[in-house]
């Protein structure tokens, strides 16, 4: 049924439809509404789970790890500082190959303290060995959440579903929430092949000496690469069940023969779609990188074939180096025939609004020399008057 729901409420209801037996979370803006909605569903007896309100994100991740190993589907959600606080556990969960789903309500990382949206948090744990799926709108968040449980459990890998804080989590959108029967048909009951059981005792998490460590790490890497197939299959099967088609890895929108492309992650994609309608001109191909881990190299190469200029627009940076996705795109396209020039920009850091006007500004910026990486929405007039950075950044 089509209904208007706040993003967080929609995600909470999607989680409940997946019937996790254990939910653990610690409150952090802008994730709070998700967990509050789950708590209310539990209080109203509409969702039967053990809701563990822990004393930190570190424990939230640890509780769901323990629950998944003890044989129950489990879920958690966090953001920003919370993702960083649980980062030790995030690496551990994936290394132990434990299937879990986590919603990251993307938010900037302190300092400076900011409660607003960018994607520095999930990008900081991009190498934690998790699958990462970015959502462009709240319908995608609902669908990705449901698919995430199936992907996680088939691959024995954890999945992080990334939704832009406030922009998605606190925004009311009309969307379709599937009914329980549909989700039950898509998502079989949780089964973990290595569940802890006194009748068949296993030791999980042993010390591994150098003679086996490389192989363990390599298997983890191979499992992430192989997960691409399951991510594609989950999107395909979910589309067959509910009728909503979705590009599982990279969504491409625009003329195939466009010479300029813009690649982004998350809700900015919607802004760019609207902006392109508003500012007609050169044909531009817009791309949404839905699946960031595993990094879908082949799909990205296919999407970028024929481009002369690729703009990578991201909401995080690697200070002292490049953009994060920008650097990976340079690497992915480096050995293709006639790779496009790659222009790497950040926008919307720490919640700065990304207006439609960003679109013509980007197309203008690539006509002139520019640094390998810079914030397209930097306001040099706000920098200290005597700062050399201000002189450099002045147009």
């Amino acid at each position: 049924m089509r209904q208007a729901l706040e993003g967080s409420q929609a995600i909470a209801r999607a989680v409940a439809l997946c019937r996790p037996q254990v939910v653990a979370a610690y409150p952090i803006t802008p994730q709070t509404h998700i967990v509050e909605h789950i708590a209310k569903l539990v209080a109203d007896d509409k969702f039967h789970c053990e809701l563990v309100s822990v004393e930190s994100e570190f424990s939230a991740a640890s509780v769901v790890l323990g629950a998944a190993c003890a044989g129950s589907r489990a879920y958690t959600a966090s953001a920003s500082q919370g993702i960083l606080l649980m980062s030790e556990v995030l690496f551990n969960i994936s290394g132990l190959r434990v299937p879990l789903v986590l919603t990251c309500a993307n938010r900037a990382v302190s300092a400076p303290l900011s409660i607003w949206n960018d994607q520095q948090d999930s990008m900081a744990v991009r190498d934690a060995g998790w699958i990462q799926i970015y959502c462009a709108d709240n319908q995608e968040a609902v669908d990705a959440t449901i698919q995430a449980f199936r992907i996680a459990e088939r691959c024995e890998l954890p999945v992080m579903v990334c939704v832009d804080g406030f922009t998605l989590t606190h925004t009311l959108e009309p969307l379709e929430l599937p009914d329980q029967e549909l989700v039950d048909g898509f998502l079989p009951p949780y089964h973990f092949s290595r569940a802890l059981d006194p009748l068949a005792p296993l030791s999980i998490g042993t010390l591994v000496a150098p003679e086996y460590f490389t192989e363990a790490r390599h298997l983890h890497h191979a499992a992430l690469l192989a997960a691409e197939k399951e991510i594609v299959a989950a999107a395909r099967d979910w589309a067959a069940a509910c009728g909503r088609e979705q590009a599982p890895l990279v969504r491409v929108d625009g003329p195939a023969d466009a010479k300029i492309g813009i690649l982004t992650l998350g809700s900015v994609f919607g802004t760019l779609l609207d902006a392109r309608d508003q500012f007609p001109g050169l044909p531009v191909k817009l791309m949404h990188l839905r699946c960031f881990r595993p990094f879908p190299v082949e799909a990205l190469r296919a999407a970028c074939a024929g481009l002369h200029d690729l703009i990578v627009l991201e909401r995080a940076i690697a200070p002292g180096a490049d953009g994060i996705v920008g650097a990976e795109m340079r690497s992915a396209l480096a050995d293709t025939d006639s790779p496009p020039r790659i222009h790497n920009f950040a926008a919307g850091l720490g919640g700065r609004d990304v207006p439609l006007a960003i679109y013509p500004r980007l197309l203008e910026a690539i006509k002139k020399p520019h640094p390998r990486m810079s914030a397209i929405d930097l306001r040099p007039e706000l920098l200290p008057a005597d700062s050399p950075v201000r002189q450099e950044a002045a147009p």
Binding site: C49, E50, V52, E55, A61, G66, A67, S72, A74, P201
Partner: protein, 327 residues
């Protein structure tokens, strides 16, 4: 015949060994003994969450494992939370399996303390066992907040300007008591009957329970591996490590000491206190300080028993006499 039920499994083994022999613990390891006794008492119907530390390292190393119970090692600091997650899952599945959490003093007093406190506060049905060997032994004997005052470790060494650790051993049991959990106790590997009884009690209790087991480490404490039990017993007999039981935070039992030994008898067996026996004013002062701490324990918990030892009760000397009978 492959056991089909837990009952079959129990019948197949006259005495259940949850921790098998053949692991890589040092000779005289108090922690290995305490873990073996714990699992003998618990039986197979448990799942274990184990913190990073000696116990995790010496019992595993892929592809070997000494565990005959389902066992999960995640990290150093999160054992209380991992155990809580296991318990939440088993509860939702309607399975009556006790969750045990094992950690050293580092994983209990220090880095794992927050997760432990959260687990206790939320009332998870978990028995958390701290194998207390009073320092970070796995990383090479560094001081923890459980290290006794004046003990030398590699990060609190003794020298002309220092008499070992400058701070007191954290009174973890009082902090646990402040959570008002159903059951909390201390035990010692030198008193296995008492230890088993407390494990049993901790398992029977519905809700969180806590057991701190004093576990000598010959390498870290600097004593012969054949002296582990002797050293552990002297810790109790001197009043340095009182064996007590708490229910809902209130003291309900203490093992009486009928022949109180001087603290020096306990200390002089161990290299970590060697500097206290130098001909030095500061050393004498610290020795007197440690004796005063033990005296305070004896007074606080009313450990001194004047009466003769009745045959049907167990005091701290009971096991010692039993031991002598067999020689």
């Amino acid at each position: 015949m492959t056991p089909q039920t837990l009952h079959d499994l129990r019948m197949a083994q006259p005495r259940f060994q949850g921790l098998e022999a053949g692991h890589r613990a040092c000779q005289g390891c108090g922690q290995a003994l305490a873990a073996r006794l714990t699992l003998e008492e618990s039986g197979p119907d448990v799942v274990v969450a184990n913190a990073t530390g000696c116990l995790e390292v010496f019992t595993t190393a892929w592809p070997d494992s000494a565990w005959r119970v389902p066992w999960l090692h995640s990290l150093f600091a999160n054992t209380g939370a991992v155990a809580a997650g296991m318990e939440a899952a088993l509860k939702m599945q309607g399975r009556d399996i006790k969750v045990l959490a094992f950690a050293g003093d580092g994983g209990t007093f220090d880095i794992g303390f927050q997760a432990l406190s959260g687990m206790l506060e939320r009332g998870h049905n978990v028995l958390f066992i701290c194998y207390d060997n009073e320092a970070y032994m796995n990383t090479g004997v560094q001081r923890s907040s459980s290290t006794p005052h004046a003990a030398a470790t590699t990060t609190s060494p003794a020298g002309v300007a220092r008499m070992g650790k400058r701070h007191l051993k954290k009174d973890i049991l009082s902090i646990i008591a402040a959570h008002h959990i159903p059951y909390a106790a201390t035990a010692s590997v030198a008193y296995p009957a008492d230890l088993r009884k407390k494990v049993r009690r901790g398992i029977e209790v519905e809700g969180p329970s806590f057991l701190q087991i004093h576990s000598p480490c010959p390498l870290g404490w600097g004593h012969g591996s054949e002296l582990s039990i002797e050293v552990a017993r002297l810790a109790v007999q001197s009043g340095m490590f009182p064996l007590i039981e708490l229910e809902q935070g209130a003291l309900v039992g203490a093992m009486p000491i009928r022949q109180i030994r001087p603290v020096a008898d306990y200390l002089k067996l161990q290299g970590r206190f060697k500097h206290l026996f130098a001909d030095d004013a500061l050393a004498r002062e610290e020795l007197a300080h440690l004796q005063a701490l033990a005296d305070q324990n004896i007074e606080d918990y009313a450990l001194k028993a004047e009466t003769a030892d009745p045959l049907d009760t167990e005091g701290v000397d009971t096991v010692r006499r039993g031991g002598l009978r067999s020689t």
